[in-house]
């Protein structure tokens, strides 16, 4: 359960830790503010699951694509999405990343390569594959990442997507956060006993691996290997990470009192907090308490400012209601498009 680290890793881990803390601080602030009833849209918090987005996205640049589902705050932020635009979106403001039309379940940041999140379980998986196809056909060295939960692997579209990605050897990474639940439904009522998403995926013939999703360095290493492989043109890969959602499925509260999971299970997972574990490893590696505290305080100012920005932002107005139904006419075909370098299968 302990992180192991080579001599050179404290700096890396500190960088990852800063990002873990940032995600946690943002979402705890959302949980704190939500009862004010000014964020009038569903929010699915990823508190407890931060290590996966952080460990994976550490290998990605803004040119790479990422897509996610209903639980996307962490993916959006770790991928470099604009925090102010995200909070403004959750507050339903015109300055939101989707200009208030989408809310928490529809985040997007083109500059950061975060192509979009939508809350129909599994539905952005093929879209991520298509983005990889687009990059490949245009000869761009981009990689595309699909983030999803284990519930999404029960949707047929997951399999269809894996088949096509493998067939065409597309540069796409499938990242499954297996947090044991789909809403209040445990794995036992949805998947045969002993099922592993990794094994299920392997039947399609792509590279697969699984790991501890609460160990940010483990995530970082597995993602690094998979992404290097994909960047070498060896085709798609899937990673399955075991992790756990702390708060209720949707909303700011804890909900163990409902009885769909045990307090003991919850505590066991809380003891494996990705932040605490990274912190302990950093301490053990000799990072000073002052440096750690600084890392922990750092995001607060940014988050304060972003909340203030969001709250001060204007609401959309009546004219915005009907705007953006249709995209404007196409520009003339772009002659500068790179030539097609994607080989026929």
């Amino acid at each position: 359960m302990n992180l192991t680290m080579s001599e050179s890793e404290p700096a890396l881990l500190l960088r990852l830790y800063r990002e873990l803390v940032r995600l946690r601080v943002v979402e705890e602030r959302i949980a704190e503010l939500y009862p004010e009833q000014d964020m009038r849209c569903p929010v699915h918090l990823s508190i407890g699951q931060e290590a996966v987005p952080v460990g994976v996205c550490a290998h990605l640049g803004p040119a790479d694509y990422a897509l996610s589902g209903h639980r996307s705050h962490g993916h959006y932020l770790a991928k470099g999405g604009d925090l102010r635009a995200m909070l403004a979106e959750i507050y339903g403001r015109a300055t939101g990343c989707s200009r208030g039309k989408g809310g928490s379940m529809h985040l997007v940041d083109l500059e950061a390569g975060f192509l979009g999140a939508t809350p129909i379980v599994g539905s952005t998986i093929p879209i991520a594959v298509g983005a990889a196809l687009g990059a490949a056909m245009r000869g761009e060295p981009r990689l595309s990442v699909a983030f999803f939960g284990e519930g999404a692997t029960e949707e047929g579209v997951f399999h269809e997507s894996l088949n096509f990605a493998t067939l065409k050897r597309l540069p796409v990474l499938f990242v499954c956060e297996n947090n044991l639940y789909s809403v209040y439904s445990p794995l036992e009522v949805r998947q045969p006993p002993g099922r592993s998403v990794r094994d299920l995926a392997a039947g399609h013939g792509l590279a697969t691996a699984s790991g501890d999703g609460n160990d940010v360095l483990a995530v970082y290493r597995l993602a690094g290997e998979a992404i290097a492989r994909i960047r070498r043109g060896e085709g798609p890969a899937l990673l399955e990470f075991a992790t756990y959602r702390w708060r209720e499925h949707c909303g700011p509260n804890y909900d163990n009192q409902l009885g769909y999971r045990t307090e003991a299970e919850f505590r066991q997972w809380q003891a494996r907090c990705p932040l605490s574990r990274a912190r302990a490893a950093l301490e053990a590696a000799g990072v000073s308490a002052a440096e750690l505290e600084a890392a922990e305080l750092a995001p607060r100012a940014e988050v304060d400012a972003a909340v203030a920005y969001a709250k001060a932002s204007p609401y959309p107005n009546a004219a915005d209601l009907a705007s953006d139904l249709y995209a404007a006419a196409a520009p003339a075909p772009n002659p500068e498009l790179p030539p097609h370098s994607w080989p026929a299968p």
């Binding site: 009833q37 009038r40 849209c41 569903p42 929010v43 339903g92 403001r93 939101g96 989707s98 208030g100 039309k101 989408g102 809310g103 928490s104 379940m105 529809h106 939508t118 809350p119 129909i120 379980v121 599994g122 519930g151 999404a152 029960e154 949707e155 047929g156 579209v157 789909s182 809403v183 209040y184 439904s185 009522v189 949805r190 998947q191 949707c250 909303g251 409902l258 009885g259 769909y260 609401y315 959309p316 107005n317 009546a318 915005d320 209601l321 009907a322 139904l325």
Partner: protein, 352 residues
């Protein structure tokens, strides 16, 4: 004896009665036995009838609809639930190509008694993918019946009629109705599919509504009463089969028609209702008929935009006034940005 129950309690009672009366009935759907029990409608049923008859399912809407169909062929009477109609779009192939057609295309030899409950979401930022109302789609498919109860007693009686029916039924529940109370008879009873209800009689204008819009239409009728305009409110209850006779009889008397719909305007159920009246006799209409519905746009999430998106009683009033040559100031129709119109009542806090 009738007693006051909420819409979701009435549905819960109907499901319990259906399970009790016929061992072939079973319930399945994401979250059906979970602690929230589909907004209360399935609470306690797994405990009472056992996990073999009330069960959860994988996130596999498409196959599970096929499974429901297959089990119906084998003699069961499944009741399936989708927490949002939007999720059921994954199952449209099974619903439309298969369930709707097996009886007809096998020459009457097969039958698919299947109730598919789908929630029509609304409010608190449900937004573009959790708040669609696609009842017009299912009504356009021969072989399906489409039911949209507006009151607790109809919810119970129509659900029991649906479970007793030998055909695939799309049973749509508007999220803003689950907490609404009304008198509900005890025991087993059915409300026949295909018969509209005159929710309020009147002689000056016919307001045709379904589901939640029936409440807005009744509010509109109250707002019109002080103006000495007596609106007749028709709650369709089922849109397939559609009770054209009740609509036409009313318009024959009132000469004016306003349709209040949940779905977006164009190619929705409003067009069909207006067309049925016009086909009967366009001269019945003393003024151009009106459709009041959300505009032809996806549902926006921001509460400020959602306020502008959904029509309310005052929009129905304005449509009636226009027909009578009494215009409305458009400013009266525009809600304040801070108005909290994204919840049915203040107790409804949070996303669902």
């Amino acid at each position: 004896m009738a007693r006051p129950l909420t819409y979701s309690q009435a549905l819960n009672e109907a499901l319990a009665l259906a399970l009790e009366r016929d061992p072939a009935v079973y319930l399945m759907g994401l979250g059906v036995p979970d602690p929230k029990g589909i907004f209360g409608t399935t609470l306690g049923l797994a405990q009472r009838f056992g996990a073999a008859r009330v069960f959860d399912m994988p996130c596999s809407e498409n196959a599970m609809t096929g499974v429901a169909i297959g089990s119906a062929l084998a003699g069961l009477r499944p009741v399936m639930t989708h927490q949002r109609i939007d999720f059921a779009l994954l199952a449209v192939e099974q619903i439309v190509n298969q369930a709707a057609k097996w009886h007809y295309m096998f020459g009457g030899r097969m039958r698919v008694p299947l109730v598919i409950r789908m929630l029509i979401g609304r409010g608190w930022g449900q937004g573009p993918q959790h708040a669609q109302c696609l009842h017009a789609w299912f009504a356009h498919v021969p072989g399906l019946k489409v039911v949209l109860p507006a009151t607790p007693s109809d919810a119970k009686g129509l659900l029991l009629a649906s479970v007793a029916d030998n055909n695939p039924i799309v049973f749509l529940e508007h999220r803003w109705l689950h907490n609404v109370s009304g008198d509900v008879p005890e025991g087993y009873y059915t409300v026949p599919l295909g018969r509209a209800r005159v929710a309020r009689p009147g002689k000056d204008v016919t307001l045709v509504a379904t589901s939640y819009m029936t409440l807005e239409a009744l509010r509109a009728a109250e707002l019109l009463a002080p103006l000495a305009i007596e609106a007749e409110v028709i709650d369709l209850r089922t849109i397939s089969p559609l009770d054209t006779a009740t609509i036409v009889q009313s318009v024959r008397r009132t000469g004016r028609l306003v349709v209040a719909d949940l779905g977006t305007r164009s190619f929705g159920i409003g067009g069909e209702i207006v067309a049925r009246v016009a086909e009967t006799d366009p001269t019945l209409l003393k003024s151009p008929p009106a459709r009041v519905s959300p505009p032809d746009l996806p549902t926006p999430t921001s509460p400020v935009l959602a306020n502008l998106y959904y029509p309310r009683a005052i929009h129905l009033v304005a449509a009636v006034r226009r027909q009578l040559g009494l215009p409305t100031d458009p400013a009266d129709l525009t809600p304040a940005p801070t108005a909290r119109l994204d919840v049915p009542d203040p107790s409804f806090a949070g996303p669902f």
